[in-house]
């Protein structure tokens, strides 16, 4: 495995290569895509990107947790968690690309 870490900069670079926009505008567009997706999720919406995957928000009820170090019981308040379900295409490509 190559094990590099890509960041927003690499996504902006991909946008820059794809269309003839400035690097600055490319990075702003990447930011807006992430913001629009985040806003929809915060509003409780599902974000479904075909051939990529689905982000959904699940509500979790309150439960009693335990501090694993001290064994002490602590209440865990109800919360919303984000889950991502990759598309078949993504799963297949990731599996194929990492096969040795």
């Amino acid at each position: 495995m190559a094990g590099k870490t890509l960041t927003r900069m690499d996504l902006s670079e991909a946008v820059f290569r794809e269309v003839g926009l400035s690097r600055n505008e490319s990075s702003q567009l990447v930011e807006r895509v992430l913001d629009l997706m985040s806003d929809a999720l915060v509003a409780g919406e599902q974000v479904k990107i075909s051939s990529f995957g689905t982000f959904s928000v699940r509500a979790k009820t309150a439960r009693v947790g335990r501090n694993p170090k001290t064994g002490e019981e602590v209440p865990i308040s109800p919360r919303r968690v984000l889950t991502f379900r990759p598309s078949h295409l993504m799963k297949d490509r990731v599996a194929a690309g990492n096969r040795d």
Partner: protein, 94 residues
Amino acid sequence: MIRSELIQKLSDENPHLYQRDVERIVNAIFEEIIEAMASGNRVELRGFGAFSVKQRDARTGRNPRTGESVAVEEKHVPFFKAGKLLRDRLNGDA
């Protein structure tokens, strides 16, 4: 929200861009993430989350219908972990 709605919103915000270019931009972003993971890389988008690849070890599985055991090879699966800012926003803390 689905891909086309995301493209529409971004298009509305950027009237100086052709919609087909906005489409190419959005597609390029998602394609870059998939390609990175297919090459065994990780994509870290601070505040939003991180996409990474997890290895699942080879195991002996079972056909749930027949109970027959089958060898399941080692494989790599995509994984996403939400970033702290987004997690906090989901819970109204930001």
